[in-house]
């Protein structure tokens, strides 16, 4: 199936949506969701880079004849997903502790460190 440039458009949309969330939402959990959105967009971009029309998965075990998609971007994406998991977990734990100390998740109220 020819997908054209659709994945890239979707990736750009995801990044923009994530940045929008990051800029205009005030809830810490929503900020983390925004970061995840940007990450997903970038991951989609990476996978789409390696895609070839009608390509198959780049695994030789019982592979049917046909062109394979590029494996490197998939490896990059996997690494980036793993890193994303760690950062998201860390951010969410910070959000939990911030909530315990401040009693709120409103980014506009968590500003004791300023100036």
């Amino acid at each position: 199936m020819n997908v054209g440039n659709v994945p890239f458009v979707v990736a750009a949309l995801l990044v923009v949506l994530g940045l929008y969330t990051f800029l205009f939402k005030r809830n810490l959990i929503k900020l983390v969701i925004g970061i995840s959105l940007i990450e997903t967009g970038v991951n989609l971009f990476l996978v789409a880079l390696g895609y070839r029309t009608a390509g198959i998965a780049p695994i030789y075990t019982l592979a049917p004849a046909g062109r394979m998609v590029l494996p490197t971007p998939q490896a990059l994406t996997l690494t980036s997903i793993v890193i994303g998991l760690a950062t998201t977990a860390l951010l969410l734990s910070f959000a939990v502790f911030v909530y315990r100390h401040y009693g709120t998740l409103d980014a506009g109220k968590i500003k004791e460190l300023q100036g």
């Binding site: 810490l28 990059l76 980036s80 890193i83 502790f97 100390h101």
Partner: protein, 517 residues
């Protein structure tokens, strides 16, 4: 050239990583066993960095280490085509120089931590994260691969934020941890996006390979913008510095010192990308002036904000931000004139790169001393402390050395590098030098304030001298500060000049080391 030297680049990452994972296991056998283990791991790492640096500086060309095989960086396919896929470390003089800085700061910070971390529990994980951070910083500095650079960038982000927010019972450290992690992650993702763009455009991730292919196309420029801004954020350039006072201020004192090395590693990445990856393919004048604009803002805002801080750690954090500006100024001037190549451009590079080493030593010393001050006075509020000099002679002396060196008072090391920056930026535009000198004077005023508020005044009750375990790392850094100040010519000839020239004129050598020809 023995086996240890050959494998030094990868061991510099693997050994601290091994130490990081083994520390919680060794910690089962008690506190002193863990300290001995962590101490020997970091000592071995420092020795490796020294060995590797001696080798690379003697070699005169980059040291290439291919992970997984010794037969070049490509994998030959049955069709005979070479695919540049292997991950490799490429260590030129600049990388080795940065590794030396990191080793110095990590050594001092880790040894200081042994006495500093007095809480009953958590010490194992704390030291584990510290080693992980060190491994990540080494990785950023030594890697020859853009994607690996991103991975190590994220490793340092996670480890650094783990350390910033480590003391979960402190309200502010959690706030700082969240903010810093969010901004680090954002900049990391954008660096990844840039790496993806470069990969899509040129089909490779290797820095040397990309450098040989990169032109001034639209995609290259977008990637450059993302990398420039993302790494400037992670280095703490104004107006992207807002995380830096939070991070340095709320982290445990020895961690703050290592975080400075982390910022410098990002700065190194920025310079590597501007000089080696892009070279002169995009207008160096514009890029140089972007760096100079960042630099002037950073110097001015950093130092003026430091003046009005009340929290001693935050104050030193803002002065650390201002020092990043001096490095950016030196290298920015060098970059702006790097096509015409006048002699003062090279001098400016020497100043900027030399200032990285000097700044690591002085700011590291100041953060360690501030940890001792906070320990003694039990507060971080400058308005509530005083008179520490009566009981803490050594700490006072070390703090004074660090403060004077940072403010650029001769004959200490800060002056030597700032001298080169002043003189060369004056040749480009006198305004730059004037701002830099004024800010330096103001920085002296800032430290007069700290010294007066914390060390002078009537003696407080129940204050004793800092434990020897914390004084010795400070002494190491103080000796480094004095030596660097008294013999700048020696260090510039041996260390700084090869490192700066690797950026200034080493692009072809860097590419040739991988691609041959």
């Amino acid at each position: 050239m023995n086996a240890l030297t050959v494998h030094a680049p990868v061991l510099l990452v693997a050994v601290p990583l091994l130490g990081a994972f083994a520390t919680p296991l060794v910690g089962r056998f008690g506190r002193s066993a863990r300290n001995v283990f962590v101490g020997s791991v970091i000592l071995f790492t420092g020795a490796l960095a020294g060995l590797m640096a001696a080798h690379v500086f003697g070699l005169g060309e980059p040291l290439v280490y291919v992970l997984g095989g010794a037969d070049g960086f490509g994998v030959p396919l049955p069709s005979g085509m070479q695919v540049p896929v292997r991950i490799l470390f490429e260590v030129d003089a600049m990388s080795a120089f940065m590794a030396l800085i990191t080793a110095l700061v990590a050594l001092a910070g880790t040894w200081y931590s042994f006495s500093y971390w007095r809480e009953r529990s958590g010490g194992d994980l704390y030291h584990s994260l510290l080693l992980l951070l060190t491994a990540g910083i080494f990785g950023m500095e030594l890697t020859g691969d853009m994607f690996n650079f991103f991975v190590f960038l994220e490793v340092t982000s996670i480890a650094a934020c783990g350390l910033i927010g480590f003391r979960v019972w402190l309200k502010h450290s959690q706030e700082a941890g969240f903010k810093v992690m969010a901004l680090y992650t954002l900049s990391g993702i954008l660096v990844l996006l840039a790496v993806g763009l470069l990969y899509g455009e040129h089909g490779g991730l290797n820095i040397a390979y990309l450098a040989s292919r990169v032109g001034g196309s639209l995609v290259d420029r977008i990637a450059l913008g993302l990398l420039l801004t993302g790494l400037a954020m992670k280095a703490g350039a104004v107006p992207l510095h807002m995380w830096a006072p939070d991070a340095y201020g709320e982290a445990p004192a020895p961690t703050s010192a290592v975080l400075v090395a982390n910022s410098q590693a990002s700065l190194y990445g920025l310079f590597r990308i501007l000089f080696t990856l892009y070279g002169a393919t995009v207008s160096v004048g514009a890029l140089g002036w972007i760096l100079i604009a960042f630099a002037l803002l950073t110097i001015a805002v950093g130092v003026t904000m430091a003046l009005v801080q009340r929290d001693i750690k935050r104050l030193i954090a803002y002065s650390a931000v201002s020092q990043i500006g001096y490095m950016l100024l030196g290298v920015g001037v060098g970059l702006a004139v790097s096509v015409a190549r006048p002699e003062f451009g090279r001098t400016a590079m020497h100043g900027g790169i030399f200032h990285m080493l000097n700044d690591a030593a002085c700011i590291g010393l100041l953060f360690l001393a501030s940890g001792a001050v906070i320990r003694a006075s039990g507060t971080r509020d400058l308005n509530k402390m005083g008179g520490l000099a009566h009981r803490m002679g050594w700490t006072t002396g070390f703090f004074l050395i660090g403060a004077l060196a940072l403010a650029g008072v001769p004959p200490l090391n800060g002056f030597a590098s700032k001298f080169l920056i002043y003189e060369s930026s004056f040749r480009l535009s006198p305004i730059l030098a004037v701002i830099a000198i004024l800010a330096s004077i103001m920085l002296l005023a800032v430290f007069v304030k700290v010294f007066q508020a914390a060390f002078l005044g009537p003696p407080p009750d129940g204050v004793t001298e800092t434990p020897t375990g914390m004084l010795v790392p400070m002494a190491v850094l103080a000796v480094a500060v004095v030596l660097l100040g008294l013999f700048p010519g020696f260090f510039i000839d041996r260390l700084v000049a090869p490192a700066a020239d690797a950026l200034w004129s080493g692009r072809d050598i860097y590419i040739r080391a991988i691609l041959g020809g």
